[in-house]
């Protein structure tokens, strides 16, 4: 293992070089979530949006779909990643203005977003997920 350390250090240096070049070339896309993007994500799953909540920074969103399912979406650089699950499978907590939404999926970490005025349906969700 010790004799491999120079090789590993070289790898780190090369990784830093490549990422620096990527950064310098401007590969820093940022997607903004909006109602149209959420509607598209829902329609990909054959559903439509009943109500949605988009974070002030437009990087995350929570929506209630037709059929009672819940969708969360988060911006991943220039892409979007979403999860759709029954409301009972979603653990939502609201502390003051801070909303946390958690799935039983290690590949989708808890979503935290600021909610200025929680809508009534969110209170239902927080109640169900508790």
């Amino acid at each position: 293992m010790i004799e491999k350390l120079p090789v590993l250090a070289g790898s780190v240096a090369v990784i830093v070089l490549m990422l620096t070049v990527a950064f310098a070339l401007g590969f820093r896309p940022k997607v903004q979530l909006n109602d149209a993007a959420l509607a598209q994500l829902a329609s990909n799953e054959g559903a439509s949006i009943e109500a949605a909540l988009i974070a002030p920074d437009a990087k995350s969103a929570l929506a209630r779909l037709t059929g009672g399912k819940i969708m969360v979406a988060r911006a991943m650089g220039g892409d979007v990643s979403a999860r759709i699950a029954p409301a009972s499978a979603v653990h939502a907590r609201l502390k003051g203005q801070k909303l946390s939404v958690q799935f039983a999926d290690v590949g989708y970490p808890p979503l935290h977003m600021k909610v200025q005025t929680p809508p009534a349906w969110l209170a239902d969700l927080v109640g169900e997920g508790r």
Binding site: M1, M18, A22, L25, G77
Partner: protein
């Protein structure tokens, strides 16, 4: 054959036999780096292809972790090969006909490993890492698993060892295959004419990385696309349907540790909640997405839904 030609041929065989197989990849790394830098510039200038520094950072971190995993667990794989070689059926040795046969059979073993890595969740848990980027560029090629050895990926090559192919020869062709597959992870190269008939190419491999229903579970080839054509899994890239990359449930994180272990955690979660041995077996060795009540999506169910939609669209409304 003249004496000098025979001598040269023997020297090449001896050199190949003595070659440290790790060096094949080590020597390729500068080429990888150069090609990635060139691809970045080409993408910037041509707007063909996509890069995201965060996504690339994750891919490169996974490659780095794979390197560490290789140092830690690679010996286990090599030991397994040499252990199996004790029981080999034939003494094949290092000769040119054996080299040629080994090239084809190693590539076929890769095809079956790769196919099963997509079709069975236990093996998918390691391989999913490589597919977890929503981008398709040369850094995606380096997004490699950390759990390949622990996930027993090497067992697919053991039959070759058991037949009698020298472990060093199999390792050599595995390394060449890995190096070959690097350059095909790009959107900057289109179709390649007759080369596409036999060889795995960027176009064929874009299809493999796509999550569009029509492209799912296709083009498992390593070096030669002939295995997909032979075993019925070949799907050509359709210019009317651009590939969308990643996995069916896209990851919501760039954290390399979550990327590396999320599917294993998913198996653990499902198995600990299973209600019968059948469920344990299904969650572990069933197709990815298997569930007892069929409520989750598998590749087969996604393709079936897509086919039904296509059929419905083709039937004119009365």
């Amino acid at each position: 054959m003249t004496a000098s030609a025979t001598s040269t041929s023997d020297s090449i065989l001896t050199a190949l036999q003595a070659l440290d197989k790790d060096l094949i990849i080590t020597f390729a790394v500068p080429g990888f780096v150069l090609l990635i830098l060139i691809e970045m510039v080409v993408v910037r200038l041509s707007k063909h292809g996509r890069y995201d520094v965060k996504d690339s950072a994750t891919s490169l971190s996974m490659g780095f972790g794979n390197q560490i995993a290789g140092i830690l667990f690679g010996g286990f794989v090599i030991y397994s090969y040499f252990w199996a070689y004790q029981y080999h059926l034939f003494d094949l040795g290092w000769t040119w006909p054996v080299l040629v046969a080994c090239f084809f059979l190693e590539d076929m073993a890769y095809y079956w490993f790769h196919r099963i890595a997509h079709e069975r969740r236990f093996f998918w848990a390691s391989h999913i890492v490589h597919h977890s980027s929503q981008h398709y560029n040369l850094t995606t090629a380096l997004r490699q698993t950390w759990t390949g050895a622990l996930g027993l990926n090497f067992i697919f090559w053991l039959p070759l060892i058991y037949i009698g192919f020298p472990p060093g020869m199999v390792l050599m062709f595995s390394a060449f295959s890995l190096v070959y597959q690097f350059w095909i992870h790009t959107e900057t190269i289109g179709r390649m004419g007759p080369f596409e008939w036999v060889m795995n190419t960027p176009s064929h491999h874009r299809v493999h990385h796509a999550i569009n229903a029509r492209y799912l579970d296709a083009n498992y080839a390593g070096v030669l696309i002939i295995w997909d054509r032979l075993f019925g899994t070949f799907v050509p890239e359709d210019d009317r349907e651009l590939p969308r990359y990643g996995i069916v449930s896209q990851l919501g994180t760039f954290n390399p540790f979550r990327v590396a272990f999320h599917e294993w955690a998913g198996i653990w979660r499902d198995v600990t909640r299973a209600k019968s041995v059948r469920e344990v077996f299904g969650y572990t060795f069933g197709p990815p997405g298997w569930s007892p009540d069929g409520s989750r999506k598998t590749s087969a169910s996604i393709k079936a839904e897509w086919a039904a939609r296509q059929q419905a669209a083709a039937v004119p409304a009365e």
